[in-house]
């Protein structure tokens, strides 16, 4: 499968959601004959079945296409897919690092949007050649001229040669392919040098073990080689190499510049970390590829089965998910209120939501998740230092001398007109202004030092909504700093509920407490008796609400003989209850445990 390096193009597609990224990808696959129109659906469906059978996610993430260009040469095109959220910013950056170019797809009606911008900046940082593609030109209100103007003005790219396409109708597909082969530089790299292969993704396959997605930078990778991961020094023997076309096709060898997969009977996905470099045991590379960093969970929350009997199923499901996602961690914990469960660590809130949804959908589990928390550092009176991922574990005031929280340096790229709004938001979130610089034409970048705890809630959503979606966010951990933090306790029916407690800055405790009990009053359904809901700091109650008893709940209507309807109505009400956690006599819905996220600023 090895081909001349100058006829290889590695590229990705970046686009805002719904701008037609996957439709364009489909057209490229179709045009280059990777799949026939009929096969498209069948293939995809087959893979979905496979996915279900094996409990893995097949990511059509690195597809190889062969394109016979007008210049008479056959090119090998490798299309690499990228996720698009700040939680996965690191994964995105590694995927981009595996490419030399990117198609920037913009909707001819909508124009440039936030995600477009954020991902374009990432691509520029990775020195990719960007080919603007204006999609949906078939729509009656398409305005490619306006969009071209935006590309030049907002992004600062030359849009004169932007390709006009309708991925839906298939117009312009060939022109896209031509520009890819003409404009995207061939991969550099030396086939004769020691092997350096960049891991940009992986998935778990129950037959092959971990399937690693690689971009060969130097040297080559072939079956039988002894290889090692440069960060962990773990060694393996290559069992097979191959490419996705888009189904897995085993081949002989992957050489410098190529993209494909490798399997080596690896059982633990944690050994194949994204960003790591693979080299050979004999004649290894002296330096790994730049940019590797171990991704550590930033956000923790408790995951509990609604029904205590599902604990073992939840454990089993988490173990299975972890096979595919090394960035999620979990360990058993116990809550007075919620019983046995797990404390799980995620890259960010979206990551948490994805995992939670998979647990609920694929494993049919009913879950209670507690509000997310960062990892705090506590120094006890005796000078002992330890970390807590669960606010409930914070000792009472007076039992510790220092409480520290993680800080990040947040970089926010935002168009000029929203700078004021962003600064305001950062200040609300205890941000400390660091710097403002301009990255080229009209691209101010603000840096703030902020507590991570302020970012993991709805910061990203707020940022988007206050900048009409144009801001992009990246952050990196800078370390721990002492803060004036207190634990806010919540009491329901006069009993403290550990799973609802959380750590908050002292200045905000009163406000947050009031908002939280108010929210809980709305979220907890009325029961047969009055329920007080209180917030306290230490022994002091700072807020109180009462959930009034429900005094009437009777179906005094004649449905004639339609007993089924009556039963369904009762069943539906009961179904709602199933998703609630029974605390003593009180039923608390899942949303209540996340109420802290729903508190609006101001």
């Amino acid at each position: 499968m090895s081909e001349k390096q100058e006829y290889i193009c590695n590229f990705c597609i970046i686009a805002h959601i719904d701008h037609g990224k996957s439709t364009l990808a489909d057209r490229l696959l179709e045009y280059t004959g990777a799949l026939s129109e009929r096969e498209m659906t069948e293939q995809v469906l087959d893979q979905m079945d496979l996915e279900r059978e094996r409990g893995i996610t097949i990511k059509a993430k690195a597809v190889r296409l062969t394109y016979q260009a007008r210049d008479g040469h056959a090119y090998q095109l490798n299309l690499i897919d990228t996720p698009g959220h700040v939680d996965f910013a690191y994964e995105v950056s590694r995927s981009l690092a595996a490419c030399e170019g990117a198609l920037l797809v913009i909707d001819a009606v909508q124009g440039i949007e936030a995600q477009t911008l954020a991902n374009t900046y990432l691509a520029l940082e990775n020195n990719l050649t960007i080919i603007p593609v204006i999609n949906k030109i078939d729509l009656p209100n398409a305005d490619p001229i306006k969009v071209k103007g935006e590309i030049e003005e907002i992004i600062g790219l030359d849009a004169a040669e932007a390709v006009l396409v309708s991925a839906k109708l298939g117009t312009g597909t060939e022109e896209v392919l031509e520009q890819i082969v003409k404009k995207i530089p061939p991969p550099k790299g030396n086939k004769g040098a020691s092997l350096k292969a960049l891991i940009f993704d992986s998935h778990y396959d129950s037959y092959k073990g971990v399937v690693v997605y690689v971009r060969i930078v130097d040297g080559y990778l072939e079956k039988g080689q002894r290889i090692k991961m440069m960060s962990s020094q773990v060694e393996h023997e290559v069992a097979e190499v191959g490419v996705f076309r888009p189904t897995m096709q085993v081949g002989q060898k992957l050489s410098a510049g190529e993209v494909g997969f490798m399997a080596a009977g690896i059982k633990n996905i944690g050994e194949t970390r994204v960003g790591d470099t693979i080299t050979t045991v004999i004649n290894p590379a002296s330096e790994p590829l730049p940019g590797y960093r171990k991704v550590t969970p930033m956000v923790y929350c408790g995951l509990y089965p609604t029904d205590a009997g599902d604990y073992a199923d939840l454990k089993n499901a988490l173990e299975k998910l972890q096979l595919n996602d090394a960035s999620m961690v979990f360990e058993a914990e116990t809550s007075e209120a919620l019983g046995f469960g797990f404390r799980c660590g995620f890259l960010g809130l979206l990551h948490k939501e994805i995992i939670q949804e998979r647990l609920e959908r694929e494993y049919k589990l009913n879950l209670i998740t507690t509000a997310p928390s960062v990892v705090y550092r506590v120094t006890t009176n005796s000078g002992q230092e330890y970390y807590i991922e669960n606010p409930a574990k914070l000792p009472p005031p007076g039992k510790y001398i220092k409480l520290e929280e993680p800080y990040v340096l947040a970089c926010i790229l935002v168009p000029q007109e929203f700078i004021g709004a962003v600064m305001e938001l950062c200040q609300e979130r205890r941000g400390e202004f660091k710097n403002m610089e301009h990255l080229g034409n009209k691209r101010p970048m603000l840096s703030y030092k902020m507590p991570l705890g302020e970012i993991i809630y709805d910061f990203f959503d707020q940022l988007k909504s206050r900048t009409k979606g144009y801001a992009s966010l990246d952050y990196e951990l800078t370390g721990y700093e002492e803060s004036n933090l207190v634990k806010l306790n919540i009491l329901i029916n006069n009993e403290p509920v550990d799973a609802l407690s959380y750590i908050v800055h002292k200045d905000k405790a009163y406000f947050r407490g009031r908002q939280l009990v108010e929210k809980l009053r709305q979220l907890i359904p009325r029961q047969l008796f009055d329920i007080p809901v209180q917030a306290s700091v230490g022994n002091k109650i700072i807020a109180r609400e009462t959930i009034k008893a429900k005094r009437k709940d009777v179906l005094a209507k004649c449905y004639g003989g339609d007993i089924t309807r009556k039963r369904k109505l009762l069943e539906k009400q009961k179904e709602g209850k199933k998703r609630m956690k029974q605390l003593g006599n009180i039923e608390i819905p899942q949303e209540a445990f996340m109420a802290v996220l729903k508190i609006e600023e101001k």
Binding site: L528, K550, R551, K552, D553, V554, L555, A556, K557, C558, G560, G561, D562, I563, T564, K566, R567, L570, E571, Q573, K574, K577
Partner: protein
């Protein structure tokens, strides 16, 4: 043991603002066609049911507004019942009627056809509130209908009432009850207005043009009805039903005792154990099935023993005397304490359920929160 027969007449002068049942504006051609296929449906059941399931205990003609049909049309329906089913002398035959759609002649014909119970949709004594509900009559019409019914020889009359109408107050509700009791019906049904999605009334409440009664007011209205009617010798025998001694509705009791009934007509529901089934809600589907000589059944559900037990409990608990535990044991061969252990353990100490004379029933406190209790049993 025979069955209860329900016949649905899906026609009205105009649909009420709160109603979400299937009903069409009255139209002579459509009615004629409907009655023709209804006759076919009866014939089909008559040919297929075993004799014991053709033995009628009760008939209930409901709607819609059955009395918006002509007298002879209703007469024919009942004649068909006699022809296709077995009609015993002690049968209870109810027809639902709306004030404004009955005159002495029609009522007399109904009596002659064998109808011995009339259920009048009075709803409220206030003409303003009747307007809110979108009813096509005044209270005056309702009073007149009661007198005409008596004159025609009806000795068993039910009046339907609704409380919780936007604009209704405790005082006006009390006055309504007084006026109703003064009409001396044998039976009174008291329903709490339910706002059903997409109905005109629901739209008005949603848009803020009308305001629903606060929950406390509705509760007070309900409790007032129970007390006031009791003082006037109407005993509450079901959540929404009150009757003088000996005048409980035998047809509706079948629903609450969870025993068999056959529903005919558009969207009618049936329970011939172990099956529940229902007719289509779409009138064309209903017509087409019968035109092709097929039973117009759109859904069938096999009721398993556990589900039958659940239904028996939540329906039986609607009755004030509750669920006869001996009868439960005889029917299912197991004790309720062994099937619904957790539920009884929860609600007996909470004082929402009680066991009196080997009957499991809602307490006075349990009554207004009955759904809270019921849903634990499904």
């Amino acid at each position: 043991m025979g069955i209860g027969l329900y016949i649905h007449i899906p026609f009205c002068l105009k649909k009420c603002n709160y109603c979400d049942f299937i009903s069409y504006r009255i139209n002579p051609t459509l009615v004629k066609a409907y009655l023709t296929v209804l006759d076919k449906e009866m014939a089909l059941y008559s040919n297929s049911l075993p004799p014991e399931e053709k033995q009628l205990e009760t008939i209930y003609i409901g709607g819609g507004t059955p009395t918006c049909l002509r007298a002879n049309e209703l007469y024919e329906v009942l004649k068909a019942c006699r022809y296709y089913f077995t009609w015993p002398p002690e049968i209870e035959v109810t027809v639902e009627a709306n004030p404004g759609t009955v005159d002495l002649e029609k009522l007399t014909v109904l009596r002659q056809a064998g109808v011995n119970r009339l259920s009048l949709g009075v709803q409220t004594d206030s003409d303003d509130l009747l307007q809110v509900l979108g009813r096509q009559h005044t209270f005056e019409h309702a009073v007149e209908a009661v007198y005409l019914a008596r004159q025609a020889g009806f000795g068993n009359i039910n009046l339907d009432l609704i409380f919780g109408i936007p604009g209704q107050t405790i005082t006006s509700w009390r006055e309504c009850l007084v006026k109703i009791v003064n009409l001396s019906p044998q039976h009174i049904s008291v329903y709490n207005l339910q706002l059903e999605e997409k109905t005109p009334l629901w739209e008005k409440v949603k848009s803020g043009q009308l305001k629903t009664c606060p929950e406390e007011t509705e509760l007070a209205m309900y409790e007032q009805a129970i007390e006031f009617l009791k003082d006037n010798n109407y005993l509450q025998y079901e959540i929404s039903n009150f009757a003088q001694t000996g005048y409980q509705c035998r047809h509706n009791l079948r629903y609450w005792r969870n025993i068999s009934y056959l529903g005919l007509g558009l969207s009618a529901h049936s329970y011939l154990p172990p099956y529940r089934f229902n007719n289509p809600e779409n009138i064309n589907t209903y017509f087409n099935c019968l035109t092709e000589g097929k039973l117009p059944v759109s859904q069938v559900e096999l009721i398993s023993k556990p589900v039958e037990m659940q239904e028996t409990v939540f329906l039986g608990l609607r009755l004030r005397q509750g669920l006869d535990l001996t009868a439960f044991f005889d029917r299912f061969g197991c004790r309720i304490e062994d099937v619904f252990t957790a539920q009884l353990k929860k609600f007996l100490p909470l004082g929402l359920l009680e066991i009196v004379n080997s009957n499991l029933r809602l307490t006075k406190n349990g009554l207004p929160v009955a759904n809270f209790v019921f849903r634990e049993f499904v």
